[in-house]
């Protein structure tokens, strides 16, 4: 097999894929390894993961939580090939007219249910001694959250950028909790099919190689402007989003993050949250049903490993061996 396809959706940490595609960097690296890589943008984030899970794509950009609950829970053995960034304030809880997270008690909270926003809310509530029982979650599509927020009935939302900055820019809006309070827990990945990667290491090498070449251009204003426009904002807006994102511009940083002991802990939280909300599937008897492999050890069932954090390709990039 020498034709591969990956998909991505619009998000600050994934815009480099667009730039890599339109600037030819990805093609350059694919040519180097004598393969073809098709890069496809998908408007709807969940749809892109579903497509990957159904086998239409070999790789897809997604968060650590969705990697666990969609492909892994569907039995598709997946590998986090690139750890691109983690959210460091890019996701947040916003209250209208109230300044403390505790005030969220008994409010209706609009968010995309079962997404990282939901996870962030759960972690936030935990931190102030509340639980989901103390609020009422209303599923609201991300595309309409901004419009929804400007209606009087909506008093609190949890969302990500660029929606978050749209919302906080409105008068009397207060960000009371954000992902910088739980650093490193919401991680943005490039996930690829483990079997495909195993049979075609060239595919992994080309992607990682291309990614870090793109990363090396990210200080260039022209490149950033390009990415900003592709996500329908301007340079300042995009820069603001980058500021709340901890990008791993260097492969070495990404490798050390992946190898840290915090990762398995984070994934434990995520697995527990997912199980509590019934999104690990029917077969799951407890949160340990799915095995998650990290360099620091396996979380969950060792005989059912479906999600692997594998820094070896990023290591090659760090070592300049690509």
């Amino acid at each position: 097999k020498d034709k591969f396809s990956i998909c991505w959706s619009i998000y600050v940490g994934w815009m480099p894929w667009e730039y890599g595609d339109s600037s030819g960097i990805i093609k350059k690296w694919a040519d180097k390894y004598d393969i073809e890589i098709d890069v496809v943008q998908i408007n709807d984030y969940v749809e892109s993961i579903n497509q990957y899970t159904a086998g239409q794509f070999d790789g897809c950009s997604m968060t650590n939580m969705d990697a666990l609950t969609i492909p892994a829970a569907s039995g598709v053995d997946s590998t986090a090939l690139i750890v691109g960034d983690f959210s460091n304030g890019n996701d947040g809880v916003v209250l209208k007219g109230k300044k403390s997270l505790k005030d969220i008690k008994n409010q209706k909270v609009n968010l995309v249910e079962l997404s990282v926003s939901h996870y962030l809310l759960a972690r936030g509530l935990e931190s102030v001694g509340l639980s989901e029982r103390n609020v009422k979650v209303v599923n609201t599509s991300d595309a309409d959250l901004v419009a929804a927020y400007s209606t009087s009935g909506v008093t609190s939302v949890v969302t990500w950028n660029p929606l978050l900055s749209e919302i906080t820019s409105q008068p009397k809006s207060y960000k009371v909790f954000d992902s910088s309070d739980i650093p490193g827990e919401i991680i943005d990945l490039m996930v690829v099919n483990t079997k495909t990667l195993k049979n075609n290491p060239k595919f992994g090498k080309a992607l990682v190689g291309a990614w870090y070449e793109i990363m090396s251009t990210m200080s260039n204003k022209k490149v950033l402007t390009h990415m900003a426009e592709a996500s329908a904002t301007d340079l300042a807006g995009y820069q603001a989003q980058l500021d709340t994102t901890k990008m791993f511009y260097s492969a070495a940083d990404a490798v050390s993050f992946t190898q840290s002991a915090a990762l398995p802990k984070t994934m434990k939280y995520v697995a527990k949250f997912s199980f509590d909300h019934g999104i690990l599937g029917d077969g799951a008897v407890d949160e340990n049903f799915i095995g998650i492999e990290t360099p620091e050890g396996v979380v969950g069932d060792k005989s059912n490993i479906k999600l692997r954090f594998n820094p070896s390709f990023m290591q090659m990039a760090a070592d300049g061996k690509l």
Partner: protein, 274 residues
């Protein structure tokens, strides 16, 4: 041999032919599902019938652990309430404005072009405006159904009123009827079966808008559940929900048809004897 167009299958063959396509579809699904599950037993795309029935059992006949509700019935009740309310209001608006527009040339001149244009605006595209105007609660969902279906019903009613032979309207006037009496005793009763027909026609659109509205903001409802569980590709829930919506759509269509036949026998006999 007879011409193809003259070959009428017997009752047995007719039944047989009706059933065959459904059996074929079920069989195709079965084998495709089996094949996928053999490869990956955790695959969620084409669940087996056992998985589907256990999902049905879980949703419809087991108390939800978190909320203590039977989700399926709760969803159905919420959606049915919204669609019935929406379509009823739509029908009422359609009837009243259609009647006035069709009957009074003065009003028609003012309203008809507006309605025509309104019926062409795609409601999905103006969702943000809708939310801001009507909020995110039940009202917004019902309003989306109304905005999506009412202009079409208005236009249909208007043209139906205008199709009533002018002779009848003139005759009523020669019998001393005022505009009001022409409306309620001559036009309204004749337009009622057409209203039911128009409502039947717009049911499809109503379901569409309902699902779209529920997908955007809701806490319960059939469309809400489908779009929520889509997040983890639970096709074992989606498939029975889709089937159930189809059944509900059919039941609503069927009962409107029956209702029309029971309430307006003169209309249906007249149509049949044409």
């Amino acid at each position: 041999m007879k011409r193809l167009m003259n070959i009428e299958p017997s009752r047995f063959w007719r039944t047989f032919l009706t059933i065959v396509p459904f059996i074929v579809i079920i069989a195709l699904y079965w084998s495709a599902s089996d094949a996928r599950l053999a490869e990956n037993p955790n695959d969620k795309l084409l669940p087996s019938f056992t998985q589907i029935s256990s999902a049905i059992d879980r949703m419809a006949f087991t108390e939800n652990k978190r909320t203590g509700e039977y989700l399926f019935w709760q969803d159905s009740a919420a959606s049915l309430y919204r669609i019935l309310l929406g379509i009823t209001i739509s029908a009422a608006i359609g009837l009243i404005i259609g009647l006035i527009n069709g009957l009074l040339p003065g009003v028609r001149a003012g309203l008809s072009p507006l309605v025509t244009i309104a019926s062409l605006v795609p409601p999905m595209a103006i969702l943000p405006i809708l939310f801001i105007t009507f909020g995110l609660d039940e009202l917004a969902k019902v309003m989306l159904i109304i905005i999506g279906t009412a202009p079409v019903i208005i236009r249909d009613m208007q043209s139906q009123v205008m199709q009533i032979p002018k002779e009848q309207l003139i005759k009523a006037q020669t019998l001393g009827a005022s505009t009001w009496l022409v409306t309620i005793r001559v036009v309204l009763p004749q337009i009622m079966p057409k209203l039911l027909a128009a409502v039947r026609l717009s049911l499809g659109a109503a379901w569409l808008f309902l699902i779209a509205a529920e997908a955007i903001a809701a806490q319960e409802g059939l469309g809400y559940r489908i779009f929520l569980v889509r997040r983890y590709m639970a096709m074992d829930v989606i498939l029975p929900y889709v089937a159930w919506i189809t059944v509900l759509a059919f039941a609503m269509d069927f009962s409107l048809k029956k209702m029309s036949q029971v309430c307006f026998p003169w209309y249906h006999h007249q149509e049949a004897s044409k």
